[in-house]
């Protein structure tokens, strides 16, 4: 593995995502790399209900606000640990937006939270991280 210059932590503020944020901070300090916390506003879970009547568009705005709070918290943690990080918010399907962001931001390493639910592991990606790694050519690490 070559030198890590840019680390991206994709977060939704869950417990495993917080661990991913901490790992990102730790690695960025060690490698002297740039660190970005990314929140993706994904309303695909509302695909079963008509968008307009129930205000799905306003839900997107609301999730963006929630995302901002989650990113603020991540930033606070990095500042506490003496690291200046950046934040980004994107809207769309998690997998597609991740691919686009990783490509555009010249990322070397992606950290992503993965919840342990009994026998099942669930993460924000609908595909396996290995597939994302194959498609983007960027190293992906799941944090449990």
């Amino acid at each position: 593995m070559g030198k890590i210059r840019h680390i991206v932590v994709s977060t939704i503020g869950s417990d495993s995502c917080k661990r991913a944020e901490n790992k990102g901070i730790e690695l960025a300090k060690k490698e002297n790399a740039q660190l970005t916390f990314l929140y993706i506003v994904d309303t695909s879970f509302l695909s079963g209900i008509p968008r307009r009547i129930h205000g799905v568009d306003s839900a997107e705005k609301d999730l963006r606000r929630i995302g901002r709070i989650i990113l603020e918290r991540a930033l606070e943690r990095s500042v506490e640990k003496g690291l200046k990080a950046e934040t980004a918010i994107r809207t769309g399907s998690v997998m597609e937006e991740l691919k686009r962001f990783l490509r555009d931001s010249k990322t070397d390493l992606l950290l992503i939270g993965c919840e342990k639910h009994g026998l099942l592991d669930t993460h924000m990606l609908k595909q396996s991280p290995t597939e994302l790694e194959e498609v983007t050519g960027i190293q992906v690490q799941e944090i449990k």
Binding site: F45, I53, H54, D62, I66, I70
Partner: protein, 467 residues
């Protein structure tokens, strides 16, 4: 998760077929067993497709209705054994009172939503709570319950929950402590009125029971259940509530005030006046004999005119998939009724209860409650309407319409038990997940099942004592 659902679907089919077997002797040349079985198969397949979430529920119902008509006009044209219903029967089976009531209320909600009033009420709740988390929870629950009683639950939850989560995240508390009470309050509040929940709209139209009758008969038990819900939520989340009195109240208030303000005060006033007018018309149903759908449509058209909203744009906001779902469902249930399937089920239930009103109440509340926790309560209620109508005529002591109330309470309260029990639950869980607080099936069950169990026990006791 899938095997569990499969098991539940099997249970659904069994629940449908056991009474059928009991009433099988009712088959006659006018009601051939082949037609009964085809309509039963259509019903079970449509339920299965909806429960498994294999295809959109509207498509599932569309498929079922089309199959019923196609079989009737092809196989049925040659052999009456395979004839389920005619096209005219299908059109007659559609309850346009339900369709127009839903459409009218959807237009009113769509216009009201533009004012930002839902989010504003969440901010106002926080202002009223003055930093006390338990007080905030109670206020949010009351607001959600009242909104859900008059407007649809999904919109209420979709617009209230994100603000609530934002407040919780800023206060650094678990959003669960605020959103679970809101979800449960939404499902309980919606039970109080004829327009609060789709099952109630179906029941109101099929039984001819008025808006007032719903308020008078369901209002008390909804109030009792709400108070009990407060206690249950306090038990579950007490640690979160007592954690602290929030210190940065003015700072958070300022932030919320900036983000959640009334977007259009004039439109809000117009919407509130029209909504009040519609509710008055609902209340005058007994005097005027006006169907609720006429009241809702009148309100919608007045609001469209005075708000100068673009009619085409507003009609685009109507939830057509839901309306089509209802229409197709009516056709499927119509086929099951015509073939004698539903009368056979109704007869089976009557025999199981031994024409005993007490037993019938218990069966209706608990079967509806359990089924609503497992499958969409709309198709279940639609299928139960003719069953209850039959029992209402054949069991002594049902003059008080108690079985209709039993169906409403079971179908509405049962939805609190599981994450898939109500659309509002799924929407809230989705937002919570994207805010870092995922709610798993078992998490929801742990909190929702006791609420459903207690409220259904209370409902059973209430119905048995009062009627």
């Amino acid at each position: 998760m899938r095997p569990l659902i499969a098991l539940l679907v099997f249970a659904t089919a069994a629940v449908l077929f056991v009474p059928l077997a009991v009433g099988a002797e009712n088959a006659s040349p006018e009601r051939p067993i082949e037609a009964v079985l085809i309509s039963a198969l259509i019903l079970v397949v449509v339920y299965g497709l909806i429960a498994f979430d294999l295809i959109h529920r509207t498509l599932a119902a569309f498929l079922g209705a089309s199959a019923a008509l196609f079989i009737s006009t092809t196989l049925g044209a040659f052999n009456k054994k395979y004839y389920l219903l005619s096209f005219d029967d299908a059109i007659e089976a559609i309850d346009f009172n339900v369709i127009f009531l839903l459409m009218g209320m959807m237009i009113i909600v769509a216009i009201m939503r533009r004012t930002g009033v839902f989010q504003w009420t969440a901010y106002k709740s926080y202002e009223l709570a003055k930093g006390d988390l338990w007080r905030l929870t109670v206020i949010l629950m009351i607001v959600t319950a009242v909104l859900s009683a008059f407007l649809d639950n999904v919109t209420t939850v979709l617009l209230m929950i994100p603000v609530t989560i934002e407040i919780a995240l800023i206060l650094r508390i678990s959003p669960w402590a605020l959103i679970f009470p809101e979800i449960m309050a939404s499902n309980i509040g919606g039970t109080a009125t004829l327009i609060g929940d789709p099952p109630n709209i179906l029941i109101g139209s099929a039984s001819g029971l008025s808006f007032n009758a719903f308020l008078v008969n369901l209002g008390p038990i909804v109030l009792i259940s709400f108070l009990v819900l407060l206690g249950i939520m306090k038990l579950f989340f007490w640690k979160d509530y007592k954690k602290r009195r929030v210190k940065n109240v003015p700072e958070l208030l300022e932030r919320l005030k900036r983000e959640y303000r009334i977007e259009d005060r004039k439109l809000l006033n117009q919407s509130l006046v029209v909504l009040a007018f519609v509710v008055v018309l609902f209340l005058l149903h007994d005097t005027l004999g006006m169907e609720p759908s006429i009241a809702a449509m009148t309100g919608a058209v007045i609001l469209l005119i005075i708000s100068r909203a673009h009619i085409v744009e507003m009609l685009e906001e109507v939830e057509w998939p839901t309306l089509v779902f209802f229409m197709m469902l009516f056709i499927i249930v119509g086929a099951a009724e015509k073939t004698g399937l539903i009368p056979a089920i109704a007869e089976g239930v009557r025999q199981m209860s031994g024409s005993n009103i007490t037993l019938a109440i218990v069966i209706v509340v608990w079967v509806s409650g359990i089924m609503s926790a497992i499958v969409d309560n709309i198709p279940f209620t639609a299928a139960m309407l003719p069953v209850i109508a039959y029992l209402d005529q054949s069991i002594p002591g049902t003059e008080t319409k108690v079985l209709w109330w039993a169906l409403a309470l079971g179908a509405d309260f049962g939805g609190n038990a599981t994450i898939i029990g109500a659309s509002a639950n799924i929407v809230a869980a989705g937002i919570a997940e994207r805010s870092g607080y995922p709610i798993r099936f078992t998490d929801f069950l742990r909190i929702g099942a006791p609420v459903a169990l207690v409220t259904m026990l209370l409902s059973t006791a209430y119905l048995l004592i009062r009627y």
